[in-house]
Symmetry: C2
Subunit: 146 residues, 2 copies
Amino acid sequence: MKNNRYIVIVGCGRLGSHLANQLSRAGHSVVVIDSNEATFSDLSPDFSGFRVSGDATQMAVLREAKLNKADVLIATTHEDNVNLMAAQVAREVFGVPHVLARVFDPKREEIYAQLGIRTICPTSVAAQMFLQAVADDTAEQKGSQR
Amino acid sequence: MKNNRYIVIVGCGRLGSHLANQLSRAGHSVVVIDSNEATFSDLSPDFSGFRVSGDATQMAVLREAKLNKADVLIATTHEDNVNLMAAQVAREVFGVPHVLARVFDPKREEIYAQLGIRTICPTSVAAQMFLQAVADDTAEQKGSQR
């Protein structure tokens, strides 16, 4: 049984570096790709994976990250187009079984779903949580007025 | 019993406008503040609240939004400092009972908590969801290998 996964993360911003650190710590083999090498400084000292410097929409860069070996690809950049491109290539060209992408524009989630890409939209999630918090506060106030 | 709340939303970006539309639709009295009037175009045609154009770190602007009447303030801008400032002033000066803020830097969440401000960090939430998705995929694969 294989617990250790080969995980490629596109983008080493706040989300990407956090995921890379956590997944590396959990014992997975992690490769992080970012076109801006300076972002790699957000990787923690105990990060045991690899850093690939380059544009993740370029085949050569994805090959360097050994995407063909990957169990999981996570696209985390701030650009929906970059995430969509990297996710699609991972799925169609490299046959990566699990492809996840951050998506900023909720309207795009349907397109991704049709392409077999699992998405997480931080804006939708945050909105949901704020609406829930307002609902909770309202309920709490009602309770205390009884 | 009062179901209708007076809610002031700072920032009319993707998150702010979404919340404004939803909360207005739910019957609340909503005021949205943004320094960039162009963002108000993201409000839906049935948005029944008010738009205040200005910098939410300025007292005059917050007064114009009648923050003293507010039951809830939600700070949603892309600037942690703006959100913190607006949230703090709402709490301390205007005595708004429920203050929620988006925070990008997870390290700041503790400061907010000490100030009695409830925070939601989209990056942390998204990271949690991605890690869960990877864990689910791993579990699924284990199951199918049995």
